[in-house]
């Protein structure tokens, strides 16, 4: 890893060459409503987007209303977005004409045509030729759409069957002159199975993930799930910030599989430069954005570019390739983790505001090693310790007599002073398992930190431990294990 400050300042270059498709930056719009027309795509390019995957073209369809529903969380809108909209409902010739116009006006930007037609070789050959004749820089095969189109044998109906994926990818490759990207569905047990099939079919790249099958919620007055189409709903495709961890995991699985490894365009809840950097660190060459633009508009790309550039400058990265994939190898199987590594929670008493959320989380949700009773003397250890349990602490408060302070008599004001020691929890470090939970619930930044403690033991993984004891034990369902005695 480059050292901060030790190398000369570089002006980062964000340009990318993704499987042969060039674009001024890695920020592409995903195939979705924001790329529905040439007028939109040109405004997006003006705002700074480096590329756009056109809203999927094919045989025109008819849409329903309504089409979207979302999950809000703690007052934040659209933590997750769900849609039952189909592919482009505009005439094919309009889309093709506009693709040509955009390419003519924006020759340096990437325009990728997303395609979906019925599973016939001729149909695919025709649409490939039409898209490339219009000037598309590449093709994305929509094998991921989980709603509506899949009922008609398209979208995820293809992407969930490796043989179909391989076959149709191969048909496309027979005709295509531009790079072919296969868009992967997450609605499958092992995404690498489909990624491998795409590679066998000759794909030049994959994009992942498409939306996740979902029902976002139910109206508790009408009992109708959302989105409501005249009293009924249908399972839709889930996206937005909520799906990002799932997308990162699937991207890492593809990136680390030698039989699936292709350039990856990362998709799934990307809303800012930090999200983008994470996908690139796990191997993505470009990232695609939809929900955040549907929420806030094309303008969000300004800080995606600015933020990523500043971060790259700070880290000394001159190009995207300088850090692409750096974190792939940092994800490993559990059995390779170091069992001797130990961290414990430390509470910074100067920062603690006395909310005691770490205490109740540790008692009810973890390992009962954060305490409110400050005691002197040697009580830490594995002997039986008597602590006041949470319910008794709350009961004591309710039984206490409190009065409104009169300034002249009692003279205390708002809680602006230091947190009383009695409200600052303490960590029993000999009991702390280093799970992180307290530091996750603490509302104050850097108040609870996890600190490494010396165990005096050399590094040892589970694999090493079990092999030194005569071979690793396989995890098998009961009845299937061969090692039962």
């Amino acid at each position: 890893m480059p050292e901060n400050g030790s190398r000369p300042q570089v002006e980062p270059d964000l340009t990318v060459n993704f499987a042969g498709i060039r674009s001024p930056n890695p920020f592409w719009l995903a195939s979705a409503p924001p790329t529905n027309s040439g007028e939109q795509v040109m405004r997006a390019f003006d705002a700074g987007w480096g590329g756009a995957v056109w809203k999927t073209i094919g045989e025109p369809i008819v849409n329903v209303s309504s089409r979207y529903s979302s999950i809000d969380w703690n007052g934040q809108r659209m933590m997750g977005l769900n849609n039952i909209e189909l592919i482009s409902d505009r005439p094919l010739e309009d889309n093709l004409r506009e693709i040509a116009e955009v390419k003519k006006r924006y020759p340096r930007h990437a325009v990728v045509a997303s395609l979906m037609v019925e599973s016939k070789r001729e149909a695919w050959h025709t649409i490939v030729a039409q898209a490339e004749d219009a000037g598309a820089d590449g093709l994305e095969l929509n094998f991921g759409c989980p709603h509506g189109m899949s009922e008609r044998g398209m979208g995820s109906a293809v992407g969930q069957v490796p043989e179909y994926t391989e076959m149709i990818t191969a048909w496309v490759k027979e005709k295509a002159k531009t790079p072919v990207i296969v868009k992967l569905t997450p609605n499958i047990a092992d995404i690498t199975v489909i990624a491998r099939a795409a590679k066998r079919g000759g794909a030049d790249a994959v994009s992942a993930i498409n939306t996740i099958n979902s029902i976002t919620g139910i109206d508790l007055d009408t009992f109708i799930p959302r989105p409501n189409v005249d009293g009924k709903s249908s399972h839709g495709g889930y996206c937005g910030p909520a799906v990002r961890p799932i997308a990162l995991n699937m991207v890492q699985q593809v990136a680390s599989d030698p039989e699936a490894a292709l350039p990856i365009s990362g998709i799934g809840g990307i809303a800012n430069w930090q999200d983008a950097a994470e996908f690139i660190l796990l191997g993505c060459g470009t990232v695609q954005v939809c929900t955040a633009v549907m929420h806030y508009g094309y303008r969000i790309v300004e800080d995606m570019i600015d933020g990523l550039t500043n971060w790259m400058r700070q880290k000394g990265f001159a190009t995207i390739e300088d850090f692409r994939g750096l974190s792939v190898g940092r994800v490993t199987e559990w059995k390779h983790l170091n069992l001797s590594y130990k961290i414990v929670a430390r509470i910074d008493e100067a920062k603690c505001i006395g909310c005691e959320l770490c205490y109740i989380a540790c008692w009810d949700g973890a390992h009962q090693c954060i305490h409110l009773d400050r005691v002197s003397g040697p009580v830490d250890g594995h002997d039986v310790e008597l602590h006041t349990p949470p319910a008794a602490i709350e009961a004591a408060t309710r039984a206490s007599i409190a009065v409104t302070p009169i300034p002249k008599l009692d003279g205390h004001g708002p809680a602006t002073g230091a947190t009383p020691l009695a409200r600052i929890p303490r960590v029993d470090e000999t009991e702390c398992v280093g799970c992180n939970l307290c530091s996750l619930v603490c509302p104050v930044e850097q108040c609870i930190t996890m600190v490494e403690v010396e165990t005096g033991k050399g590094p040892e993984t589970w694999e090493e431990r079990t092999s030194s004891q005569g071979g690793a034990k396989e995890c098998a369902p009961p009845g299937l294990t061969t090692q039962r005695s």
Binding site: I406, P407, H412
Partner: protein, 448 residues
């Protein structure tokens, strides 16, 4: 209640209610602290994070019932409480440079929704008990005591000399905080619960008390304080020298008092500030609070002081009234002298500092004396410094049949303190009578 229609206009809400979405946004900010300091700071220990969480999750009935479970006057407390020194003052957000949760406005939001939906107070026990308890005075302490007992199935009766229930809640809290109408509506729920109210009944003599003792199994003294202190200077019997509490009660529940162009308010407690602000809103151009000591010793909360300055009230410190000058046209001026504060807080006039404060009206807010006549009529109840001496956790007096709470015990604190006292006494009375009934075999045996 004969409140003048102009009052609502002149005394609009100081803290306007939340719109539903704003309430949910604010509720979502709450950290849901464990053993929350806000709950600990509240004299009635309302489970604040719990009721706020229920607002965030759109369970408004559950939210209101959480509040009412701890504090039957949750509506008036949400408006009248000095939350800056109570729940909101204890909010941990103060310690990380964030605004505290607006607990009072959220509480009002839940309570307003409860009242709008026609909510009623729940019973804690469906068992109907025969024991009768008298609560003397219809202020917050008695209301809380009577409601607690009624919720547990006892027969509670409140005696009140004034025509409206609520005590200072109805008659004494600044209208821009708690309108008299809101106070009365809140108490209507207690009436619906089955608490009996006997208005226009003055309990003052030993004979009155003896009659109550014959009729009731236990008595609760929630009588508040007695007459206002007088200035004790020449001219203080002028009809335009008025008591602050009477002044406030009059504008809230009767024909608004005529205010002079210039008004002097004597005293610097919270009541003085309420009266001074009211004088401004009722039309006085020049209102000044005159106080013998300095801002540091002022009994009023500092946020009340800041509010009064915003209302245009002036403060004159280290000023002692000496004499009231009046002629046929009314009061002309208040003669005052500057004082200096010596060792131990002793005040002495500054020679040659006499001045005249020109005013047509003088409002006194220098405290109230205890209700000694009534309290001395009750045999066996001990007084300490004019206050009823009680066992704090139960409110029981030296006479085991009598319990007491509120201002007559604490010398004059807040509504919420009175509610806490009344509730504690209600629980203690109920437990005492239940034990007595068990000892005697059946509840009816008590009356046999």
């Amino acid at each position: 209640m004969r409140q003048d229609p102009s009052i609502a206009e002149k005394f609009q809400d100081l803290h306007p209610p939340f719109a539903p979405q704003a309430a949910r946004v604010e509720a979502d900010r709450c950290l849901n602290c464990f053993d929350a300091p806000c709950t600990a700071a509240c004299p009635t220990h309302i489970d604040v994070p719990r009721f706020i969480g229920k607002i965030a999750r759109d369970n408004l009935r559950g939210s209101a019932l959480t509040i009412l479970d701890a504090n039957v006057l949750g509506e008036s407390c949400s408006r009248a409480c000095p939350v800056e020194v109570l729940c909101e003052g204890a909010c941990v957000f103060h310690r990380c440079n964030q605004q505290p949760i607006q607990i009072a406005r959220l509480q009002r939001f839940a309570m307003d929704a409860f009242h709008a939906s026609g909510g009623t107070l729940p019973r804690r026990s469906a068992v109907e008990r025969a024991e009768k308890i008298a609560c003397i005075g219809a202020g917050p302490a008695s209301l809380a005591c009577a409601a607690e007992l009624r919720q547990r199935g006892f027969q509670a009766t409140i005696f009140e000399r004034r025509p409206l229930p609520g005590g200072l809640n109805t008659y004494g809290v600044a209208e821009y905080k708690l309108p008299a109408r809101a106070s009365v509506e809140e108490i209507e729920l207690i009436r619906k619960l089955g608490v009996e109210f006997r208005h226009g009944v003055e309990i003052a003599t030993e004979a009155d008390v003896a009659a109550l003792e014959r009729e009731f199994d236990a008595l609760f003294l929630g009588v508040g304080l007695g007459p206002a202190h007088r200035l004790g200077i020449p001219g203080d019997d002028h009809r335009d020298v008025i008591d602050a509490l009477e002044f406030i009660a009059q504008y809230k529940t009767d024909t608004p008092p005529q205010v002079a162009e210039s008004v002097a308010v004597i005293g610097a407690g919270n009541t003085a500030i309420d009266a001074a602000n009211a004088a401004r809103r009722l039309g006085a151009a020049n209102v000044a609070i005159l106080y013998r000591r300095t801002q540091r010793q002022m009994p009023a909360f500092s946020f009340e002081y800041e509010h009064a300055k915003q209302e245009g009230v002036r403060f004159l410190w280290r000023v002692m009234p000496v004499r009231i000058h009046a002629d046929e046209g009314g009061i002309r001026s208040l003669e005052c002298v500057q004082v200096q504060i010596g060792e131990g807080g002793a005040l002495s006039p500054v020679p040659g500092s006499t001045f005249h404060f020109d005013c047509g009206q003088i409002i006194c807010a220098i405290g109230q004396s205890p209700l000694l006549q009534l309290l001395s009529a009750v045999r066996g109840v001990e007084l300490r410094h004019g206050r009823v001496a009680v066992d704090r956790p139960t409110g029981r007096t030296a006479n085991p049949k009598y319990y007491a709470g509120g201002d007559c015990v604490n010398g004059g604190r807040e509504v919420v303190d009175a509610v806490a006292d009344g509730k504690r006494s209600g629980i203690a009375i109920a437990e005492h009578l239940e034990r007595a009934a068990q000892g005697a075999g059946s509840p009816e045996a008590v009356h046999a």
